[in-house]
């Protein structure tokens, strides 16, 4: 009956709370979140325009409604300043909060773009629903039905999905990406270039191998000056250059951290009463800021907190890139794998396979209508964490 306190009210925190309540109606539960605590799914932000959804329509519940459903205390707009491990309490904006078991579900911070100058306020990072509401307000500013020029910094998963959503809604989209093709850390060249071509076909402009260096006002908007001196003018800018796990709170408390908060197969940190999950956590050297790992972690951690002997396992978990104009599912090979990619263009799209020396399938990518085969391909892959 030792109270559980969860720091974080995103998909990880709420997902864990739901899984806890499926098996345990009694243990006191508190969630502490820095934002308004609305229940929403972050993956829904990057296709909201295509579905005609306003930011306020993306929240399925308020924090108060979730608190009643979960029989939990939910503190919103509350930051945790420090963890007092010896005293088993949190020092927060709302005073001290004691915990029996603590779960850190803090998520990740968008990596800062570092651009300074007048006009930098036109650069938006979108990492939660509040950010997204501000971005949408800027998109309709001064001209609710007008189309804007949007520059996107970063051609990764978030950048590509937002590029698709914005261009399909009629805005002019230009993506500035350091890599040679989009998603170069997940996908080989043939797959990345096919994604780029598919998005270009609906109007996305790409600048590969480029980075923005400065931002300055230009007319009604801003101009980004790139490393080659060229300029990209835009009404607003979306910065999507990557995520960094929020490890400061854990590190300051003396917990083991690496790229993320280090946890074992029971999601336990170096302190037996403290767990971590979601985008802030590193399991077995892996930080996987995606939904399927998060859902697996929530189920395992809820079982662990209920005293069950559960261990996290990951099947193959292909990443679905929700770019409707150029659908893609990619399962990269595990770290340290040695093999090679082969890609073939088919009538329906693209099939790429990563095979080892014994011709075993260790990774794949499917593009276009071939994404329909994702489950069959996923079943052939070894588990990511057995």
């Amino acid at each position: 009956m030792s109270p559980i306190v969860i720091v974080g009210s995103g998909l990880a925190g709420y997902g864990l709370a739901r899984e806890i309540r499926k098996r345990d109606a009694a243990t006191p539960l508190t969630l502490i979140g820095a934002d308004a605590g609305q229940v929403y799914a972050k993956p829904n932000l990057s296709n909201a325009l295509a579905l005609g959804r306003l930011p306020e329509q993306l929240a399925s519940e308020t924090a108060a409604q979730a608190a009643r459903r979960l029989d939990a205390t939910i503190l919103s707009h509350t930051r945790v300043r420090a963890i007092d491990r010896a005293g088993k309490r949190l020092l927060t904006d709302a005073g001290e909060i004691a915990y029996g078991r603590l779960v850190l579900a803090l998520g990740a911070d968008p990596i800062g773009h570092g651009l300074v100058g007048a006009g930098a306020e036109r650069i938006h990072a979108v990492n939660d629903l509040d950010d997204y509401a501000r971005f949408r307000a800027a998109l309709t500013e001064r001209n609710p039905t007008g189309k804007k020029r949007v520059a996107i910094l970063g051609g990764g998963l978030i950048g590509c999905e937002f590029a698709n959503d914005l261009v399909v809604a009629g805005h002019r989209v230009e993506v500035i990406h350091l890599g040679p093709w989009p998603l170069e850390r997940l996908a080989p060249e043939a797959v990345g270039r096919a994604l780029a071509a598919g998005l270009a076909a609906v109007g996305v402009t790409w600048r590969f191998g480029r980075a923005a260096r400065t931002v300055e006002p230009a007319g009604a908007g801003v101009a980004l000056v790139l490393d080659d001196g060229s300029r990209v003018e835009a009404d607003l800018v979306l910065s999507a250059i990557g995520l960094r796990a929020r490890t400061d709170l854990a590190r300051a408390a003396g917990l083991a951290t690496n790229r993320g908060i280090a946890v074992d197969r029971q999601l336990r940190t170096s302190d037996p009463d403290i767990h971590a999950m979601g985008d802030c956590a590193e399991v077995d050297g892996m930080v996987l800021p995606y939904i399927q790992p998060l859902l697996a972690q929530a189920k395992t951690l809820a079982a662990v907190l209920a005293g069950e002997d559960a261990r996290l396992a990951y099947p193959a978990m292909p990443v679905v890139v929700k770019t409707a104009a150029s659908p893609l599912v990619v399962a990269p090979p595990p770290p340290g794998a040695s093999g090679a990619w082969q890609a073939e263009t088919t009538a329906k799209g693209l099939i790429a396979r990563y095979l080892d020396a014994d011709r075993r399938l260790l990774g794949f990518a499917l593009g276009g209508a071939e994404t329909g085969q994702r489950l069959q391909y996923a079943q052939q892959l070894p588990a990511l964490l057995a």
Partner: protein, 54 residues
């Protein structure tokens, strides 16, 4: 009738259409879809769908 969206992959379940290929008749409310229903596109379970109001 409402439309529900899988948070992992964006698959849309339209209550009016159901999903006959997976044994769900048209007009079946999401609440009445069995708990062991898995997203036909990505395999996550019903409890992991979030709702879209369209």
């Amino acid at each position: 009738m409402k439309i529900w969206q899988c948070i992992v992959c964006g698959y849309l379940y339209d209550e009016a259409m159901g999903d006959p290929e997976h044994g769900i008749a048209p007009g079946t409310a999401w609440a009445d879809v069995p708990d062991d229903f898995e997203c036909p596109e990505c395999g996550v379970t019903k409890s992991d769908f979030s709702m879209v109001e369209v």
